[in-house]
């Protein structure tokens, strides 16, 4: 069971109040891009064992979208942050590094750090 804190309304609720929106910070490949890029954008997703960035929606609460950084193995939540960013904010990355010193940042949307 995940406990998520919505950065929009401040409510901390359990996961059934929210909806998972899949991997975060995808770069969109639309018309005019190569078939391979378009296919990857549509269908290929990371499935890491460990640190993962996701989009979530506070479906039964304020209704807003936001981001979650969490560990897929331990279900630890590193933090939640606003929806309108293309890469995770520094304080979230710092939190992850303090909890997972060996983690090599492959920041989605932002290349490697």
């Amino acid at each position: 069971m995940l406990m998520l804190t919505c950065p929009c309304c401040g409510v901390t609720g359990e996961e059934t109040e929210f909806t998972n929106g899949g991997e975060a910070h995808l770069k969109r490949y639309g018309p005019g891009t190569s078939d391979l890029d378009f296919e990857a954008y549509l269908f290929l997703r990371d499935n890491p064992k460990g640190v993962h960035f996701e989009r979530w929606r506070h479906t039964y609460g304020c209704g807003k979208w936001f981001h979650v950084a969490r560990c897929t193995m331990t279900l630890e939540i590193f933090g939640t942050y606003e929806a309108h960013v293309t890469t995770p904010p520094q304080e979230i990355l710092a939190k992850i590094k303090s909890r997972r010193p060996d983690w090599i940042a492959r920041i989605p949307g932002g290349g490697s750090e």
């Binding site: 401040g10 609720g13 059934t16 039964y60 304020c62 807003k64």
Partner: protein, 197 residues
Amino acid sequence: MILMGRSRMSEAVSALDGLVWDQGIARIEEVGPQGMITLRGDLGSGTIKDLATGVTSVDMPGQSEANCVADRGICWMSPDELLILCSYEDVAMNLQRIQKGLGDAHALAVDVSEARATFRISGDHVREVLAKLVPVDLSTEAFKDGMFRRTRMAQVPAAFWMCNDHMVQIVCFRSHAQYVFDLLKTAAAPGSEVNLL
């Protein structure tokens, strides 16, 4: 500015026509008709605050709070949405007042009275009756007077607040009214006290 009104051609009847159930560990009552206006816009704007407090005569609530007196009140729904409660008869007048006050502001005011159902549950066990149905900590330390919570009630969306220590008010979609009433009846079944909260 978008505004939608209702025609007043027929007598208003709430979802369950004021159904009451009083045979369990809490009294369950469908309340209605209750006037409700959704007001969306920049909640930091003085105009929106003034309009909300003006038509309800209650103070502006903080984040995740509700200020309600009898059938009037303001509920904080999200960073850009308020639910204005007023008497059913005053909705058209208040909506007009809000529309006029908003002017060209980027905002939305809609009469949602007919889209919702309202319940009050009362008695010594209200907290635990509700706690059986929502994924929310309803202990007195965690859920306090004045707090307003949108969440799910079993399988449908609902919002609630404590009117006082022995009464909870619940708002849900009108089409879910019977479902919510039945849920509450089950949660308040005779002999189902948990005596935890």
